[in-house]
Amino acid sequence: MRSRFGLQKAGPRNRSDQRAELLLGALACVVLALIAGMIIFVFEKAWPSFSNNGLDWFWPWAGGNVDDELVHIFESPSDPSQFVYTMHAWPLIYATLLITATAVVVSTVFAVLSAMFIVEFAPEGIRRLLEPVVRLLAAVPSVIYGLIGILVVVKFFSDHLITQSARDSVAGVAALNGFSWGVGALILTVMITPIMIAIVVDALRAVPVGWREGSVSLGVNRWRAMLTVSVRAARPAIVAAAVLATARALGEAIMLSMVTGSVGFQPNPIDGFIFFVEPARPLAATIVDNAEGLSVVPFAQTLYAFAAVLLVSAAFLSFGGWYIRRRLRTYTLSPI
């Protein structure tokens, strides 16, 4: 990043100062080495799972039941030459993508509207109430969301939204007991929206008043001025917020393992409404659910392969977000 102040990185230098610079630099390098180590270690451990399956690991039409495959890997003989590695992880990847995409899309719209409300339209009293509310929602631990999800939302879905005929129609394929990817995506939306709101509100506030006054003086109403000037100027921040929220959503393990049903099932969009209440299990939740099996070597290697996929997506997200923000920077503010 370019320094905001020319002199910031210059300054008088002597022996003790150079020593301090080295020390601090070494500290930063330790952090860097730790991350590099993490990526290398995880990939090294995960490699057998990838190399034994090839592209079938990711291939959507590879077939097979993930849960059966996990059991086979877990029960593989202790002789290293006979380890079972067969793993077609697409249902898990699909569940991760489905839940994350749904939650991020819904919460982006929700967060931008809420941020516009907070910055421009809310009466003073409601605004003063909303700010701590957003901070509180962002700070509630995921396990509490999971607890509420499993004891309230899942129960509500099961008792009121799923009819007996719906249950019978997929009997033998999947159990519709309220544990579903829909509940997971719903609660995930509530979890990541406040993170986005905080960032978008800051960006909207940073838009110079004159820009909006200019458009208002041209006879545009407040809503249009907000939407076409402020929100447009805040696009890099909205992208940054969405990237952060996606990272949170991808890595959410505990809450999703509590409410999504923990079945390696692949929800099918052509099922109509039932689609939303079908169970699934994303990658991160799979790791939590099966953590007891980490002592079995091939099983652990498979779990580390899931972790490696998550790690790569986190890295790609951070670079992708940086690139999009840079592209959007023309004609906008550059808050980040």
Partner: protein, 345 residues
Amino acid sequence: MSTPATTESRAETQRRRIRPPNLPRPRLPRRNRGLLKEEEIVPWSIGDRIGLAAAWFCGLLLCAIAGSIVLYMLVRGLQYLSVGALFEHPVILSTTQSTGTAGGYLDPIEGTLILTTLGTLIALPIGIGTAVWLSEYGRPSWLARAVESGVEIVAGTPTIVLAIFGLLVFTQGAFGFLSFTAEGGAVFGRSFFIAGIMMSLIAIPLIVGATREALQSIPAHVREASYALGKDKISTIRRVLLPASRKGIATGTTLGMGRIAGDTAIVVILLGATPLEPQGDVPILKVLQGTGSTLTSYVYNNSPAGEGNAPQKAYAAAFVLLIIVILMNFFVDLISRKGSDPWAR
């Protein structure tokens, strides 16, 4: 329609011409109610009105969600929480169940406190050091950029991945002194030390971000003034810049503490989620080397998803956890309001 406006302007001219010293100043109406509303001056299309309604709906829905979560947890918490249980150790009922779901939850509360303190203590020096280096030195610049994106990647890494990475590293025999070890010398890779080290990785990005922002909001002339007095760079940092960015550091640290206290995945995998089980016999070290649980893992294990399945206990512990989180939130608020930054722009 025009009457209030004329009265107002007349009052305005009077005020300017003669101003009797003891007369109260004419007050403007709080809202210009008599004037034309915005909707009557500029057109609001149906779409705009729907958009505005949607914004109102989102704002109010947010309040409703937060309100119902807090109220629900309050009702359930007060229903199941007993003061005595706060100071009771958990009891292990059967041998098949290692999480100790009977009895009170003193151990999880202690565990949360120990782990949060430990994680923060490890994260603080590393986070501040990295932030100072990035903001004040940052040479060579390619290294600075690498460190920057590294910190960003850590911030985006799921905690479950951090947890199993920790397990991978700390089950190596060389780290046996840090963790719970079996008789035969097998290293379990589970202890407060290890969980604290991995937890600090959650807090580091937050501390680095907040500290950097605070350092960069200090204008250049403050640094120049210090250099002009003959101070070198490192003493400028220590005596001028760091004290001035105390507020930012405190905010980042408190946010990090909240994240550590609220994380479950690392606790379940690296702390064992057992009642406090000290290891060895050196007074404080034995706790840090042993396993334990925190409120988050206690809630998880007692929810229908865990092995305990005692929702009442889960509700009560979640209530305590929520109180802790709200208190931390309150402190962030207090810090960011009190003691404004001396060089705030």
